[in-house]
């Protein structure tokens, strides 16, 4: 690991002024530093900023950027009103990592593209203009939506997929003041040359994430995640779904896909098509078709399009069945129903 200077920021203002790589839980950044993908000259430790709170605000929720994944997933208001967020969080990483990883760090985590993670490979995201070794390589974890020849990486977060479905807003403070960005468009899509612009400008710090009142969707929300093993693995594809059902008809719907693009993929056309429809498999199948509209393989990964379509149907169907009072033993697993889910 390259040597660096370490400072601790006690206030958000100090973090903005410090000009360095921000260290929160460290579960992603320290790992990238060990493998030589990240090499900051200065680490600014923001883990003690007073931003770890989780509060109910006017029916919605405010999650501080330093709240730990495990604490968010266990929070009574999250379990009661935003259960797909709890399920997404608990389907990711391991208990040890969830105890360290923060909400802000989760939003800012780097892609798990193995070529990005290998300094010997070409990567426009890591080194603009160097090319993309992923194209023509192993592309199981790569994009089928919104990609370019410049970059086919996906964003690996489960949490962000649920947040996008819940209409979450990322609150940011920086040298230019405060701004907010919708979770569903916070992460830039790649352009022809590479990964596109950075989601945060130098000096900017995520302070918290706000979720509006889920209204009638609170108990009809699920997260489903397909992966190579049922625990401690990144998604091949995943989906967060929430429904507001009135007498068996859909008054409002939310659907977002994970593992398919450089951002959580909110499926607004599919959502609109569900409004007024009966909550049936046929309705969900038509919506899922719309959700993957425009998808194309970025390599040997055409199967992900069909998998995403099926996972979208599964997530919508499970959401229609209602969120179970207690989350399944294997969160977000497609096999949960076969065990004791």
């Amino acid at each position: 690991m390259k040597p660096f200077a370490y400072t601790r920021a006690e206030t958000v203002e100090a973090a903005i002024a410090a000009e360095g790589a921000l260290l929160a839980g460290g579960t992603n950044l320290l790992d990238l530093m060990k493998i030589g993908v990240a090499a900051p000259d200065r680490l600014v430790d923001i883990s003690r900023l007073p931003l770890a709170g989780i509060e109910e605000v006017a029916g919605g929720l405010r999650i501080g950027a330093m709240a730990r994944n495990a604490d968010i997933a266990r929070h009574p208001a999250v379990l009661a009103r935003f259960p797909a967020l709890a399920e997404a969080l608990l389907s990711g990483a391991s208990p040890q990592l969830r105890n360290a990883a923060t909400a802000g760090g989760n939003v800012m985590q780097a892609t798990r593209c193995s070529y990005f993670q290998d300094p010997a490979s070409s990567c426009n995201r890591r080194e603009p203009g160097s090319g993309c070794s992923a194209i023509g390589g192993q592309t199981r974890n790569h994009a089928v939506l919104g990609w370019t020849e410049g970059c086919i990486a996906t964003h690996p977060s489960d949490m962000c997929v649920a947040l996008a479905a819940y209409d979450a807003v990322v609150m940011i403070e920086g040298p230019g003041g405060r701004r907010e960005a919708a979770m569903e468009s916070f992460h830039p899509l790649p352009d022809a040359a590479g990964a596109g612009p950075a989601p945060l400008s130098p000096g900017e710090v995520i302070t918290d994430i706000r979720l509006p009142d889920p209204g009638g969707m609170a108990r009809n929300a699920r997260y489903v995640k397909l992966r190579e093993r049922t625990s401690f693995a990144f998604a091949i594809v995943s989906a967060a779904a929430a429904l507001d059902l009135r007498d068996g008809r859909i008054a409002a719907a939310r659907l977002a896909l994970g593992g398919v693009a450089a951002r959580p993929w909110r499926c607004r056309v599919a959502e609109q098509a569900l409004v007024g429809q009966p909550a049936t498999t046929e309705s969900f199948a038509r919506a899922a078709e719309l959700a993957v509209q425009g998808a194309r393989p970025s390599g040997d990964n055409a199967a992900k399009i069909e998998l995403a379509r099926r996972i979208a149907i599964r997530a919508l169907s499970l959401a229609a069945d209602g969120t179970p009072d207690r989350l399944a033993a294997l969160p977000a697993s497609v096999f949960a129903g076969e065990n004791n889910g």
């Binding site: 370490y6 460290g26 579960t27 680490l43 495990a70 040890q96």
Partner: protein, 164 residues
């Protein structure tokens, strides 16, 4: 620049000078303090061999920058036994053959101690397996590990009952 680190490790207050901020908590435990019970497996947060408790929560020590945890209370495998008596989780791992080569075992035990304290898995083997998924065992002693966590959960509940 030398920076000072204060930790309470297994009940003892320690003050250390660090001349390189790159040290992880795992490095400090093993290289500076000689507490080699905590193992370095993958060093990337994927295997769980380095699991310790930081302020009571299980964490991968390999991805914990030491300076970031200044002032924390750390419990390692060396701090678990009660004098000459093994901690009930340690005893259960022996009774139930929860290991073969033993390299992952300190991490497994620390993770199990925290899992039982979290009180979410109870006596459901599926929830225990899911809750222990951050700890890999290349000898695949998983069946014994699950049994050990079940037995230790029962033993600790009994202790609590008797104490009440």
């Amino acid at each position: 620049m030398t920076q000072t680190l204060q930790l309470k490790i297994n009940g003892s207050d320690l003050r250390l000078d660090l001349d390189d901020p790159r040290a992880t908590l795992l490095d400090v435990l093993r290289e500076r303090l000689g507490l080699t019970g905590t193992k370095k497996g993958c060093d990337r947060g994927q295997c769980g061999a380095c699991t310790v408790l930081i302020d009571g929560r299980r964490v991968n020590a390999c991805l914990a920058l030491a300076l970031s945890h200044d002032g924390a209370q750390i419990t390692t495998i060396e701090g678990l036994a009660r004098g000459e008596d093994l901690h009930p989780v340690q005893a259960a791992f022996i009774a139930d053959d929860g290991f073969q080569c033993g390299f992952c075992t300190p991490g497994q035990i620390m993770s199990a101690v925290a899992l039982i304290a979290e009180a979410e898995a109870g006596l459901d083997p599926e929830r225990i397996r899911e809750g222990m998924s951050g700890n890999l065992c290349r000898c695949a002693a998983y069946a014994g590990i699950t049994e050990a966590v079940l037995d230790a959960t029962r033993a600790l509940a009994l202790e609590e009952e008797r104490a009440a």
